[in-house]
Protein backbone atom coordinates (compact mmCIF):
# COMPACT_ATOMS: atom_id res chain seq x y z
CA UNK A 1 0.00 0.00 0.00
CA UNK A 2 2.07 2.92 1.26
CA UNK A 3 5.71 3.17 2.24
CA UNK A 4 6.65 2.79 5.92
CA UNK A 5 7.51 6.51 6.09
CA UNK A 6 3.89 7.51 6.57
CA UNK A 7 3.60 5.65 9.86
CA UNK A 8 1.68 7.99 12.14
CA UNK A 9 3.84 9.20 15.05
CA UNK A 10 1.51 7.68 17.59
CA UNK A 11 1.76 4.27 16.00
CA UNK A 12 5.51 4.56 15.82
CA UNK A 13 5.68 5.38 19.49
CA UNK A 14 3.75 2.27 20.38
CA UNK A 15 6.06 0.34 18.07
CA UNK A 16 9.13 1.57 19.93
CA UNK A 17 7.54 0.47 23.16
CA UNK A 18 7.44 -3.18 22.11
CA UNK A 19 10.18 -5.78 22.35
CA UNK A 20 12.95 -5.99 19.79
CA UNK A 21 11.34 -8.77 17.84
CA UNK A 22 7.91 -7.22 17.91
CA UNK A 23 9.37 -3.89 16.82
CA UNK A 24 10.93 -5.29 13.72
CA UNK A 25 7.74 -7.07 12.77
CA UNK A 26 5.65 -3.99 13.30
CA UNK A 27 7.94 -1.69 11.33
CA UNK A 28 7.57 -3.95 8.34
CA UNK A 29 3.78 -3.84 8.43
CA UNK A 30 3.03 -0.78 10.48
CA UNK A 31 0.75 1.19 8.16
CA UNK A 32 -0.93 -1.88 6.86
CA UNK A 33 -3.08 -2.63 9.86
CA UNK A 34 -5.39 0.33 9.42
CA UNK A 35 -7.70 -1.19 6.76
CA UNK A 36 -8.04 -4.26 8.98
CA UNK A 37 -9.22 -2.13 11.86
CA UNK A 38 -11.65 -0.38 9.52
CA UNK A 39 -13.05 -3.66 8.24
CA UNK A 40 -13.55 -4.90 11.78
CA UNK A 41 -15.04 -1.64 13.04
CA UNK A 42 -18.71 -2.40 12.29
CA UNK A 43 -18.43 -5.51 14.46
CA UNK A 44 -16.51 -3.61 17.13
CA UNK A 45 -19.29 -1.02 17.23
CA UNK A 46 -21.99 -3.72 17.27
CA UNK A 47 -20.36 -5.70 20.08
CA UNK A 48 -19.53 -2.51 21.95
CA UNK A 49 -23.14 -1.37 21.83
CA UNK A 50 -25.07 -4.64 22.04
CA UNK A 51 -22.86 -6.46 24.52
CA UNK A 52 -21.04 -3.91 26.66
CA UNK A 53 -23.39 -0.96 26.19
CA UNK A 54 -26.45 -3.01 27.02
CA UNK A 55 -24.75 -4.69 29.98
CA UNK A 56 -24.04 -1.22 31.33
CA UNK A 57 -27.62 -0.18 30.68
CA UNK A 58 -28.91 -3.32 32.35
CA UNK A 59 -26.86 -2.54 35.45
CA UNK A 60 -28.30 0.93 35.35
CA UNK A 61 -31.82 -0.56 35.41
CA UNK A 62 -30.77 -2.88 38.23
CA UNK A 63 -29.84 0.03 40.49
CA UNK A 64 -32.73 2.22 39.35
CA UNK A 65 -35.28 1.16 41.93
CA UNK A 66 -37.80 1.05 39.07
CA UNK A 67 -40.11 -1.66 40.31
CA UNK A 68 -43.02 -1.01 37.96
CA UNK A 69 -43.54 0.10 34.39
CA UNK A 70 -44.48 3.72 35.07
CA UNK A 71 -42.15 5.18 37.68
CA UNK A 72 -39.01 6.97 36.43
CA UNK A 73 -35.46 5.64 36.70
CA UNK A 74 -33.96 6.62 40.03
CA UNK A 75 -30.92 5.36 41.89
CA UNK A 76 -31.16 3.09 44.91
CA UNK A 77 -27.43 2.62 45.56
CA UNK A 78 -27.57 -1.10 44.89
CA UNK A 79 -30.18 -1.66 47.58
CA UNK A 80 -31.98 -3.98 45.20
CA UNK A 81 -29.09 -6.43 45.12
CA UNK A 82 -29.62 -6.95 48.86
CA UNK A 83 -33.42 -6.79 48.88
CA UNK A 84 -33.64 -9.48 46.24
CA UNK A 85 -32.66 -12.08 48.85
CA UNK A 86 -35.89 -11.28 50.72
CA UNK A 87 -38.00 -12.23 47.70
CA UNK A 88 -39.36 -15.64 48.82
CA UNK A 89 -38.66 -17.43 45.54
CA UNK A 90 -35.09 -16.18 45.04
CA UNK A 91 -32.90 -18.21 47.44
CA UNK A 92 -34.64 -21.35 46.16
CA UNK A 93 -33.91 -20.33 42.58
CA UNK A 94 -30.21 -20.02 43.38
CA UNK A 95 -30.20 -23.39 45.14
CA UNK A 96 -31.96 -25.00 42.18
CA UNK A 97 -29.48 -23.56 39.71
CA UNK A 98 -26.53 -24.80 41.78
CA UNK A 99 -27.91 -28.32 42.17
CA UNK A 100 -28.76 -28.45 38.47
CA UNK A 101 -25.30 -27.21 37.54
CA UNK A 102 -23.53 -29.73 39.76
CA UNK A 103 -25.47 -32.72 38.46
CA UNK A 104 -25.47 -31.62 34.84
CA UNK A 105 -21.82 -30.64 34.60
CA UNK A 106 -20.50 -33.71 36.44
CA UNK A 107 -22.96 -36.03 34.68
CA UNK A 108 -22.21 -34.80 31.17
CA UNK A 109 -18.47 -34.70 31.85
CA UNK A 110 -18.31 -38.23 33.24
CA UNK A 111 -20.60 -39.78 30.63
CA UNK A 112 -18.91 -37.93 27.76
CA UNK A 113 -15.48 -38.98 28.96
CA UNK A 114 -16.58 -42.57 29.41
CA UNK A 115 -18.01 -42.78 25.88
CA UNK A 116 -14.88 -41.24 24.38
CA UNK A 117 -12.71 -43.58 26.44
CA UNK A 118 -14.57 -46.59 25.04
CA UNK A 119 -14.19 -45.30 21.49
CA UNK A 120 -10.73 -43.81 21.49
CA UNK A 121 -8.86 -46.88 20.30
CA UNK A 122 -11.13 -47.16 17.33
CA UNK A 123 -14.26 -49.24 17.18
CA UNK A 124 -16.39 -50.70 14.48
CA UNK A 125 -18.99 -48.26 13.13
CA UNK A 126 -17.45 -45.39 15.06
CA UNK A 127 -19.03 -42.76 12.80
CA UNK A 128 -22.45 -44.24 13.52
CA UNK A 129 -21.92 -44.20 17.29
CA UNK A 130 -20.65 -40.66 17.15
CA UNK A 131 -23.64 -39.49 15.14
CA UNK A 132 -26.13 -41.05 17.55
CA UNK A 133 -24.48 -39.64 20.68
CA UNK A 134 -24.25 -36.22 19.08
CA UNK A 135 -27.65 -35.85 17.44
CA UNK A 136 -29.49 -34.63 20.58
CA UNK A 137 -27.42 -31.45 20.24
CA UNK A 138 -29.21 -30.61 17.00
CA UNK A 139 -32.57 -30.63 18.78
CA UNK A 140 -33.90 -27.67 20.73
CA UNK A 141 -34.61 -27.98 24.45
CA UNK A 142 -38.16 -26.94 23.66
CA UNK A 143 -38.66 -29.96 21.40
CA UNK A 144 -36.87 -32.47 23.61
CA UNK A 145 -38.68 -31.03 26.62
CA UNK A 146 -41.97 -32.28 25.17
CA UNK A 147 -40.88 -35.89 25.34
CA UNK A 148 -38.84 -35.65 28.54
CA UNK A 149 -41.82 -34.23 30.37
CA UNK A 150 -43.63 -37.38 29.36
CA UNK A 151 -40.82 -39.72 30.26
CA UNK A 152 -40.26 -38.16 33.67
CA UNK A 153 -43.88 -38.45 34.77
CA UNK A 154 -44.25 -38.84 38.54
CA UNK A 155 -47.55 -40.77 38.52
CA UNK A 156 -47.66 -43.32 41.40
CA UNK A 157 -46.54 -46.95 40.81
CA UNK A 158 -49.97 -48.51 40.27
CA UNK A 159 -50.58 -46.33 37.19
CA UNK A 160 -46.97 -45.54 36.37
CA UNK A 161 -46.17 -44.05 32.98
CA UNK A 162 -43.05 -43.02 31.14
CA UNK A 163 -39.71 -44.13 32.52
CA UNK A 164 -41.25 -45.37 35.78
CA UNK A 165 -43.43 -47.71 33.73
CA UNK A 166 -40.41 -48.88 31.79
CA UNK A 167 -38.58 -49.56 35.06
CA UNK A 168 -41.56 -51.64 36.25
CA UNK A 169 -41.56 -53.64 33.04
CA UNK A 170 -37.85 -54.33 33.37
CA UNK A 171 -38.26 -55.40 37.00
CA UNK A 172 -36.47 -52.29 38.20
CA UNK A 173 -39.55 -50.80 39.84
CA UNK A 174 -37.42 -49.66 42.78
CA UNK A 175 -35.86 -47.05 40.49
CA UNK A 176 -39.23 -45.38 40.02
CA UNK A 177 -39.34 -41.87 41.48
CA UNK A 178 -41.14 -38.59 41.18
CA UNK A 179 -38.41 -37.03 39.02
CA UNK A 180 -38.33 -33.26 38.79
CA UNK A 181 -41.36 -32.91 41.02
CA UNK A 182 -39.38 -34.08 44.00
CA UNK A 183 -39.15 -31.04 46.28
CA UNK A 184 -35.58 -31.68 47.38
CA UNK A 185 -33.77 -33.33 44.49
CA UNK A 186 -36.05 -32.47 41.58
CA UNK A 187 -33.43 -30.34 39.88
CA UNK A 188 -31.13 -33.35 39.69
CA UNK A 189 -33.75 -35.10 37.56
CA UNK A 190 -34.14 -31.94 35.52
CA UNK A 191 -30.47 -32.29 34.62
CA UNK A 192 -31.08 -35.65 32.92
CA UNK A 193 -32.42 -34.22 29.63
CA UNK A 194 -29.53 -31.74 29.63
CA UNK A 195 -27.03 -34.56 30.12
CA UNK A 196 -28.72 -36.46 27.29
CA UNK A 197 -28.35 -33.39 25.11
CA UNK A 198 -24.76 -32.41 25.89
CA UNK A 199 -22.79 -35.53 26.77
CA UNK A 200 -22.30 -36.31 23.08
CA UNK A 201 -20.62 -32.96 22.73
CA UNK A 202 -18.28 -33.72 25.62
CA UNK A 203 -17.61 -37.10 24.00
CA UNK A 204 -16.58 -35.34 20.79
CA UNK A 205 -14.24 -33.01 22.68
CA UNK A 206 -12.57 -35.85 24.58
CA UNK A 207 -12.33 -38.01 21.49
CA UNK A 208 -10.45 -35.25 19.72
CA UNK A 209 -8.28 -34.93 22.84
CA UNK A 210 -7.49 -38.64 22.97
CA UNK A 211 -6.61 -38.67 19.30
CA UNK A 212 -4.33 -35.70 19.84
CA UNK A 213 -2.03 -37.69 22.13
CA UNK A 214 0.84 -38.91 19.94
CA UNK A 215 1.02 -42.69 19.69
CA UNK A 216 4.83 -42.47 20.13
CA UNK A 217 4.32 -41.13 23.63
CA UNK A 218 2.18 -44.09 24.67
CA UNK A 219 4.53 -46.54 22.97
CA UNK A 220 7.51 -45.05 24.79
CA UNK A 221 5.75 -45.53 28.12
CA UNK A 222 4.85 -49.12 27.23
CA UNK A 223 8.44 -49.87 26.27
CA UNK A 224 9.45 -48.57 29.70
CA UNK A 225 7.19 -51.25 31.13
CA UNK A 226 4.20 -49.14 32.11
CA UNK A 227 0.94 -51.06 32.36
CA UNK A 228 -1.91 -49.92 30.14
CA UNK A 229 -3.54 -48.34 33.19
CA UNK A 230 -0.38 -46.40 33.99
CA UNK A 231 -0.14 -45.23 30.39
CA UNK A 232 -3.57 -43.68 30.86
CA UNK A 233 -2.89 -42.33 34.31
CA UNK A 234 0.47 -40.71 33.62
CA UNK A 235 0.61 -40.15 29.86
CA UNK A 236 -2.87 -39.72 28.39
CA UNK A 237 -4.91 -38.10 31.17
CA UNK A 238 -2.54 -35.17 31.81
CA UNK A 239 -2.79 -34.33 28.11
CA UNK A 240 -6.57 -34.14 28.41
CA UNK A 241 -6.59 -31.47 31.10
CA UNK A 242 -7.19 -28.56 28.68
CA UNK A 243 -10.13 -30.46 27.18
CA UNK A 244 -11.65 -30.94 30.61
CA UNK A 245 -11.22 -27.26 31.32
CA UNK A 246 -12.96 -26.09 28.14
CA UNK A 247 -15.73 -28.64 28.61
CA UNK A 248 -16.22 -27.41 32.19
CA UNK A 249 -16.47 -23.81 31.06
CA UNK A 250 -18.88 -24.56 28.23
CA UNK A 251 -21.14 -26.80 30.31
CA UNK A 252 -20.96 -24.44 33.26
CA UNK A 253 -22.09 -21.37 31.40
CA UNK A 254 -24.89 -23.26 29.64
CA UNK A 255 -26.00 -24.58 32.97
CA UNK A 256 -26.06 -21.31 34.90
CA UNK A 257 -28.30 -19.69 32.31
CA UNK A 258 -30.59 -22.66 31.65
CA UNK A 259 -33.98 -21.36 30.56
CA UNK A 260 -35.55 -23.18 27.59
CA UNK A 261 -35.39 -26.61 29.18
CA UNK A 262 -37.08 -25.50 32.40
CA UNK A 263 -39.74 -23.56 30.51
CA UNK A 264 -40.48 -26.56 28.29
CA UNK A 265 -40.67 -29.14 31.05
CA UNK A 266 -42.00 -27.32 34.09
CA UNK A 267 -42.84 -23.77 33.06
CA UNK A 268 -42.66 -21.16 35.78
CA UNK A 269 -43.38 -23.47 38.71
CA UNK A 270 -41.72 -22.59 41.98
CA UNK A 271 -40.36 -26.13 42.37
CA UNK A 272 -37.99 -25.68 39.41
CA UNK A 273 -37.55 -21.91 39.60
CA UNK A 274 -34.09 -20.77 38.44
CA UNK A 275 -32.60 -17.27 37.98
CA UNK A 276 -33.05 -17.24 34.18
CA UNK A 277 -36.74 -18.07 34.54
CA UNK A 278 -37.00 -15.52 37.35
CA UNK A 279 -35.77 -12.74 35.03
CA UNK A 280 -38.54 -13.62 32.60
CA UNK A 281 -41.19 -13.75 35.32
CA UNK A 282 -40.08 -10.44 36.85
CA UNK A 283 -40.17 -8.65 33.51
CA UNK A 284 -43.26 -10.14 31.89
CA UNK A 285 -45.49 -11.34 34.72
CA UNK A 286 -44.64 -8.97 37.57
CA UNK A 287 -43.67 -5.96 35.45
CA UNK A 288 -40.65 -5.28 37.66
CA UNK A 289 -37.67 -4.27 35.45
CA UNK A 290 -35.38 -3.49 38.38
CA UNK A 291 -35.72 -6.96 39.87
CA UNK A 292 -35.38 -8.60 36.45
CA UNK A 293 -32.22 -6.61 35.73
CA UNK A 294 -30.78 -7.35 39.18
CA UNK A 295 -31.22 -11.09 38.69
CA UNK A 296 -29.69 -10.80 35.22
CA UNK A 297 -26.71 -8.98 36.72
CA UNK A 298 -26.19 -11.75 39.28
CA UNK A 299 -26.27 -14.25 36.41
CA UNK A 300 -23.74 -12.22 34.47
CA UNK A 301 -21.40 -12.02 37.46
CA UNK A 302 -21.65 -15.79 37.99
CA UNK A 303 -20.81 -16.49 34.35
CA UNK A 304 -18.11 -13.84 34.34
CA UNK A 305 -16.34 -15.35 37.35
CA UNK A 306 -16.27 -18.63 35.46
CA UNK A 307 -15.38 -17.42 31.98
CA UNK A 308 -13.15 -14.34 32.22
CA UNK A 309 -10.11 -16.05 33.82
CA UNK A 310 -10.46 -18.82 31.27
CA UNK A 311 -10.62 -16.43 28.29
CA UNK A 312 -7.64 -14.40 29.44
CA UNK A 313 -5.69 -17.58 30.11
CA UNK A 314 -6.48 -19.20 26.76
CA UNK A 315 -5.75 -16.13 24.64
CA UNK A 316 -2.47 -15.64 26.49
CA UNK A 317 -1.54 -19.30 26.17
CA UNK A 318 -2.18 -19.16 22.45
CA UNK A 319 -0.03 -16.08 21.99
CA UNK A 320 2.87 -17.78 23.76
CA UNK A 321 2.66 -20.80 21.52
Amino acid sequence: MTSPDVTPPVARESIEGRGRRGRRAWRRRAPRWLPGLLLLSPSIVAIGLFVYGLIFWNTRVAVSGKHDMVSPYGFDKGKNFVDLWDVPSWPGAVRHALLFTAVFVIGALVLGFFLAFLMEKGIKAEAGFRAIYLFPMAVSFIASGVVWRWLMNPAPPERAVGLNQLFNKLGLGALGNDWWQNPRLGMAAMALPAIWQMSGYVMALYLAGFRGVPEDLREAARVDGASEWKVYRYVVLPQLRPVTLSALIILGHISLKVFDLIMAIAGKQIITYVPAVATYVEVFDRGDPANGATIATYLLVAVGLLVIPYLVWSVRAERER
Partner: protein, 291 residues
Protein backbone atom coordinates in the same frame (compact mmCIF):
# COMPACT_ATOMS: atom_id res chain seq x y z
CA UNK B 1 16.22 -69.23 39.36
CA UNK B 2 17.96 -66.31 37.73
CA UNK B 3 15.13 -66.05 35.25
CA UNK B 4 12.50 -65.68 37.99
CA UNK B 5 14.46 -63.06 39.93
CA UNK B 6 14.93 -60.88 36.88
CA UNK B 7 11.27 -61.27 36.08
CA UNK B 8 10.38 -60.20 39.61
CA UNK B 9 12.64 -57.16 39.68
CA UNK B 10 11.70 -55.98 36.21
CA UNK B 11 8.44 -53.99 36.18
CA UNK B 12 6.02 -56.65 35.16
CA UNK B 13 3.61 -56.12 32.32
CA UNK B 14 0.20 -57.16 33.53
CA UNK B 15 -1.50 -59.87 31.53
CA UNK B 16 -4.99 -58.67 30.63
CA UNK B 17 -7.87 -60.87 31.75
CA UNK B 18 -9.38 -60.85 28.33
CA UNK B 19 -7.59 -60.70 25.02
CA UNK B 20 -7.82 -57.56 22.92
CA UNK B 21 -10.67 -59.12 21.00
CA UNK B 22 -12.71 -59.73 24.15
CA UNK B 23 -12.15 -56.20 25.41
CA UNK B 24 -13.26 -54.86 22.06
CA UNK B 25 -16.46 -56.90 22.27
CA UNK B 26 -17.21 -55.54 25.73
CA UNK B 27 -16.56 -51.97 24.66
CA UNK B 28 -18.81 -52.46 21.67
CA UNK B 29 -21.59 -53.91 23.82
CA UNK B 30 -21.45 -51.04 26.32
CA UNK B 31 -21.50 -48.47 23.53
CA UNK B 32 -24.47 -50.24 22.00
CA UNK B 33 -26.30 -50.16 25.33
CA UNK B 34 -25.81 -46.41 25.44
CA UNK B 35 -27.16 -46.10 21.91
CA UNK B 36 -30.37 -47.72 23.14
CA UNK B 37 -30.57 -45.29 26.07
CA UNK B 38 -29.92 -42.31 23.81
CA UNK B 39 -32.65 -43.38 21.42
CA UNK B 40 -35.37 -43.93 24.05
CA UNK B 41 -36.78 -40.40 23.70
CA UNK B 42 -36.73 -40.69 19.92
CA UNK B 43 -38.60 -43.98 20.05
CA UNK B 44 -41.35 -42.49 22.21
CA UNK B 45 -41.59 -39.43 19.98
CA UNK B 46 -41.85 -41.41 16.77
CA UNK B 47 -44.28 -44.11 17.87
CA UNK B 48 -46.58 -41.66 19.64
CA UNK B 49 -46.62 -39.26 16.72
CA UNK B 50 -48.05 -42.01 14.50
CA UNK B 51 -50.78 -43.06 16.92
CA UNK B 52 -54.38 -42.00 16.74
CA UNK B 53 -55.66 -39.54 19.32
CA UNK B 54 -57.40 -42.27 21.36
CA UNK B 55 -54.35 -44.48 21.37
CA UNK B 56 -51.81 -41.76 22.17
CA UNK B 57 -51.71 -41.89 25.94
CA UNK B 58 -48.78 -41.90 28.36
CA UNK B 59 -49.86 -45.31 29.67
CA UNK B 60 -49.18 -46.93 26.29
CA UNK B 61 -46.06 -44.93 25.52
CA UNK B 62 -43.87 -47.98 24.99
CA UNK B 63 -46.07 -49.96 22.59
CA UNK B 64 -46.07 -49.57 18.84
CA UNK B 65 -49.14 -47.98 17.26
CA UNK B 66 -51.88 -50.55 16.57
CA UNK B 67 -52.96 -48.67 13.51
CA UNK B 68 -50.62 -46.07 12.14
CA UNK B 69 -52.26 -42.69 11.79
CA UNK B 70 -51.07 -39.45 10.25
CA UNK B 71 -53.59 -37.29 12.15
CA UNK B 72 -50.98 -36.09 14.59
CA UNK B 73 -48.64 -35.01 11.83
CA UNK B 74 -51.45 -33.33 9.92
CA UNK B 75 -52.57 -31.18 12.81
CA UNK B 76 -48.95 -30.50 13.80
CA UNK B 77 -48.31 -29.18 10.32
CA UNK B 78 -51.40 -26.96 10.46
CA UNK B 79 -50.45 -25.43 13.81
CA UNK B 80 -46.73 -25.04 13.21
CA UNK B 81 -46.71 -23.89 9.59
CA UNK B 82 -46.49 -20.12 10.26
CA UNK B 83 -43.74 -20.77 12.80
CA UNK B 84 -41.79 -22.95 10.41
CA UNK B 85 -42.03 -20.22 7.82
CA UNK B 86 -40.80 -17.59 10.28
CA UNK B 87 -37.98 -19.83 11.47
CA UNK B 88 -36.75 -20.17 7.91
CA UNK B 89 -37.06 -16.42 7.36
CA UNK B 90 -34.94 -15.84 10.47
CA UNK B 91 -32.39 -18.65 10.24
CA UNK B 92 -31.46 -18.61 6.56
CA UNK B 93 -30.63 -14.89 6.14
CA UNK B 94 -29.29 -14.77 9.68
CA UNK B 95 -26.85 -17.60 9.04
CA UNK B 96 -25.73 -16.11 5.72
CA UNK B 97 -25.04 -12.64 7.16
CA UNK B 98 -23.28 -14.19 10.16
CA UNK B 99 -21.01 -16.21 7.90
CA UNK B 100 -19.97 -13.22 5.78
CA UNK B 101 -19.28 -11.08 8.84
CA UNK B 102 -17.46 -13.87 10.63
CA UNK B 103 -15.27 -14.56 7.61
CA UNK B 104 -14.14 -10.93 7.27
CA UNK B 105 -13.60 -10.58 11.02
CA UNK B 106 -11.70 -13.83 11.26
CA UNK B 107 -9.50 -12.77 8.35
CA UNK B 108 -8.62 -9.47 9.97
CA UNK B 109 -7.94 -11.03 13.37
CA UNK B 110 -5.71 -13.75 11.98
CA UNK B 111 -3.97 -12.22 8.95
CA UNK B 112 -4.39 -8.45 9.04
CA UNK B 113 -3.92 -7.81 12.71
CA UNK B 114 -3.73 -4.39 14.28
CA UNK B 115 -2.29 -3.32 17.64
CA UNK B 116 -4.63 -4.52 20.37
CA UNK B 117 -6.19 -7.20 18.17
CA UNK B 118 -5.85 -9.77 20.94
CA UNK B 119 -7.66 -7.54 23.39
CA UNK B 120 -10.47 -6.92 20.90
CA UNK B 121 -10.71 -10.63 20.22
CA UNK B 122 -10.94 -11.42 23.93
CA UNK B 123 -13.66 -8.80 24.36
CA UNK B 124 -15.54 -10.34 21.43
CA UNK B 125 -15.25 -13.81 22.90
CA UNK B 126 -16.75 -12.76 26.19
CA UNK B 127 -19.85 -11.82 24.21
CA UNK B 128 -20.21 -15.49 23.35
CA UNK B 129 -20.64 -16.51 26.96
CA UNK B 130 -22.79 -13.77 28.42
CA UNK B 131 -26.21 -14.82 29.66
CA UNK B 132 -28.47 -13.02 27.22
CA UNK B 133 -30.82 -12.22 30.09
CA UNK B 134 -28.25 -9.63 31.08
CA UNK B 135 -28.94 -7.60 27.91
CA UNK B 136 -32.53 -8.57 27.22
CA UNK B 137 -34.33 -5.80 29.10
CA UNK B 138 -32.45 -2.88 27.49
CA UNK B 139 -32.33 -4.76 24.16
CA UNK B 140 -36.10 -4.77 24.14
CA UNK B 141 -36.03 -1.03 24.68
CA UNK B 142 -33.41 -0.47 22.01
CA UNK B 143 -35.27 -2.50 19.40
CA UNK B 144 -38.47 -0.67 20.30
CA UNK B 145 -36.72 2.64 19.63
CA UNK B 146 -35.46 1.29 16.32
CA UNK B 147 -39.02 0.12 15.55
CA UNK B 148 -37.69 -3.39 15.08
CA UNK B 149 -39.23 -5.08 18.09
CA UNK B 150 -41.57 -7.93 17.23
CA UNK B 151 -40.36 -8.09 13.64
CA UNK B 152 -38.40 -10.77 11.84
CA UNK B 153 -35.74 -8.19 11.00
CA UNK B 154 -35.28 -7.40 14.68
CA UNK B 155 -34.74 -11.06 15.50
CA UNK B 156 -32.29 -11.46 12.63
CA UNK B 157 -30.38 -8.41 13.86
CA UNK B 158 -30.16 -9.75 17.40
CA UNK B 159 -29.06 -13.21 16.27
CA UNK B 160 -26.45 -11.83 13.90
CA UNK B 161 -24.95 -9.44 16.45
CA UNK B 162 -24.74 -12.02 19.25
CA UNK B 163 -23.47 -14.56 16.72
CA UNK B 164 -20.46 -12.39 15.80
CA UNK B 165 -18.20 -13.84 18.54
CA UNK B 166 -18.63 -17.52 17.71
CA UNK B 167 -18.48 -16.93 13.93
CA UNK B 168 -15.37 -14.78 14.27
CA UNK B 169 -13.78 -17.43 16.47
CA UNK B 170 -14.46 -20.29 14.05
CA UNK B 171 -13.16 -18.40 11.02
CA UNK B 172 -10.16 -17.04 12.89
CA UNK B 173 -9.14 -20.47 14.11
CA UNK B 174 -9.54 -21.78 10.59
CA UNK B 175 -7.59 -18.99 8.89
CA UNK B 176 -4.70 -19.28 11.35
CA UNK B 177 -3.81 -22.47 9.48
CA UNK B 178 -3.24 -20.60 6.17
CA UNK B 179 0.54 -20.08 5.86
CA UNK B 180 1.54 -16.47 6.42
CA UNK B 181 3.95 -16.74 3.47
CA UNK B 182 0.99 -16.90 1.10
CA UNK B 183 -0.45 -13.67 2.47
CA UNK B 184 3.01 -12.09 2.49
CA UNK B 185 3.57 -13.08 -1.14
CA UNK B 186 0.33 -11.42 -2.17
CA UNK B 187 1.35 -8.30 -0.30
CA UNK B 188 4.68 -8.22 -2.06
CA UNK B 189 2.80 -8.46 -5.33
CA UNK B 190 1.02 -5.30 -4.28
CA UNK B 191 -2.35 -6.81 -3.37
CA UNK B 192 -4.29 -4.89 -0.73
CA UNK B 193 -6.33 -6.35 2.09
CA UNK B 194 -9.52 -7.09 0.19
CA UNK B 195 -7.68 -8.27 -2.89
CA UNK B 196 -5.68 -10.74 -0.78
CA UNK B 197 -8.88 -11.90 0.85
CA UNK B 198 -10.58 -12.51 -2.47
CA UNK B 199 -7.72 -14.21 -4.24
CA UNK B 200 -6.13 -16.25 -1.42
CA UNK B 201 -8.35 -16.56 1.65
CA UNK B 202 -11.87 -16.81 0.24
CA UNK B 203 -11.16 -19.68 -2.21
CA UNK B 204 -10.09 -21.98 0.65
CA UNK B 205 -12.83 -20.90 3.07
CA UNK B 206 -15.39 -23.52 2.05
CA UNK B 207 -15.19 -25.78 5.12
CA UNK B 208 -15.29 -22.87 7.57
CA UNK B 209 -18.33 -21.43 5.82
CA UNK B 210 -20.06 -24.78 6.07
CA UNK B 211 -19.30 -24.99 9.78
CA UNK B 212 -20.55 -21.49 10.53
CA UNK B 213 -23.66 -21.80 8.37
CA UNK B 214 -24.65 -25.05 10.06
CA UNK B 215 -23.85 -23.77 13.52
CA UNK B 216 -25.73 -20.50 13.13
CA UNK B 217 -28.68 -22.07 11.36
CA UNK B 218 -29.05 -24.60 14.15
CA UNK B 219 -28.77 -22.14 17.00
CA UNK B 220 -31.12 -19.62 15.38
CA UNK B 221 -33.62 -22.35 14.58
CA UNK B 222 -33.53 -23.68 18.12
CA UNK B 223 -33.61 -20.30 19.84
CA UNK B 224 -36.39 -19.66 22.30
CA UNK B 225 -35.10 -16.87 24.55
CA UNK B 226 -34.74 -14.14 21.91
CA UNK B 227 -38.03 -15.18 20.38
CA UNK B 228 -40.08 -14.76 23.56
CA UNK B 229 -38.42 -11.50 24.56
CA UNK B 230 -38.19 -9.84 21.15
CA UNK B 231 -40.73 -11.58 18.94
CA UNK B 232 -44.44 -11.09 18.46
CA UNK B 233 -47.35 -13.12 17.15
CA UNK B 234 -46.28 -12.26 13.58
CA UNK B 235 -42.64 -13.23 13.98
CA UNK B 236 -42.74 -16.16 16.43
CA UNK B 237 -40.52 -18.99 15.25
CA UNK B 238 -41.49 -22.61 15.50
CA UNK B 239 -40.03 -23.08 19.00
CA UNK B 240 -42.49 -20.58 20.48
CA UNK B 241 -45.46 -22.11 18.67
CA UNK B 242 -44.34 -25.55 19.78
CA UNK B 243 -44.07 -24.41 23.38
CA UNK B 244 -47.50 -22.77 23.17
CA UNK B 245 -49.20 -25.90 21.86
CA UNK B 246 -47.16 -28.54 23.64
CA UNK B 247 -45.45 -26.70 26.46
CA UNK B 248 -46.14 -27.10 30.13
CA UNK B 249 -48.78 -24.39 30.03
CA UNK B 250 -50.81 -26.08 27.30
CA UNK B 251 -54.23 -27.32 28.37
CA UNK B 252 -55.25 -29.57 25.51
CA UNK B 253 -53.44 -32.88 25.58
CA UNK B 254 -53.35 -34.22 22.05
CA UNK B 255 -50.29 -36.30 22.66
CA UNK B 256 -49.94 -37.57 19.10
CA UNK B 257 -49.96 -33.98 17.86
CA UNK B 258 -47.50 -32.87 20.56
CA UNK B 259 -44.97 -35.52 19.64
CA UNK B 260 -45.41 -34.96 15.91
CA UNK B 261 -44.94 -31.23 16.49
CA UNK B 262 -41.73 -31.76 18.43
CA UNK B 263 -40.41 -33.95 15.61
CA UNK B 264 -41.57 -31.58 12.89
CA UNK B 265 -39.91 -28.63 14.62
CA UNK B 266 -36.64 -30.57 14.86
CA UNK B 267 -36.62 -32.01 11.36
CA UNK B 268 -34.77 -29.19 9.57
CA UNK B 269 -31.88 -29.14 12.05
CA UNK B 270 -31.77 -32.93 12.12
CA UNK B 271 -31.63 -33.09 8.33
CA UNK B 272 -28.89 -30.47 8.24
CA UNK B 273 -27.05 -32.38 10.90
CA UNK B 274 -27.38 -35.79 9.30
CA UNK B 275 -26.43 -34.58 5.82
CA UNK B 276 -23.58 -32.32 6.93
CA UNK B 277 -22.69 -33.97 10.24
CA UNK B 278 -18.99 -34.05 9.50
CA UNK B 279 -18.81 -30.24 9.35
CA UNK B 280 -21.04 -29.94 12.38
CA UNK B 281 -18.54 -31.97 14.32
CA UNK B 282 -15.76 -29.65 13.26
CA UNK B 283 -17.88 -26.70 14.32
CA UNK B 284 -18.18 -28.21 17.77
CA UNK B 285 -14.45 -28.49 18.03
CA UNK B 286 -13.97 -24.85 17.06
CA UNK B 287 -16.56 -23.87 19.63
CA UNK B 288 -14.27 -25.30 22.27
CA UNK B 289 -11.79 -22.47 21.79
CA UNK B 290 -9.11 -24.80 20.52
CA UNK B 291 -6.80 -22.60 18.47
Amino acid sequence: MTATTTAATRPRRRVPLLGPGGMRMIRFAVLLAFVVVFLIPVYVLVVTSFKSLQEADPSTAWSLPKDWSLDGWRSAWDTLRPGLENSFKISVPGALISAVLGSLNGYVLSKWRFPGADAVFTLFLFGMFIPYQAVMIPLQGLLTDLELVGSIRGLVLAHVVYGIPICTLIFRNYYVTIPNELIEAARVDGAGMLRTYRSIVLPVSGPAFAVVLIWQFTSMWNDFLFAVFLGSQESWPVTVLLNNTAGSGAVAVQYNQQMASALLASLPTLVVYIVLGRFFMRGLMAGALKG
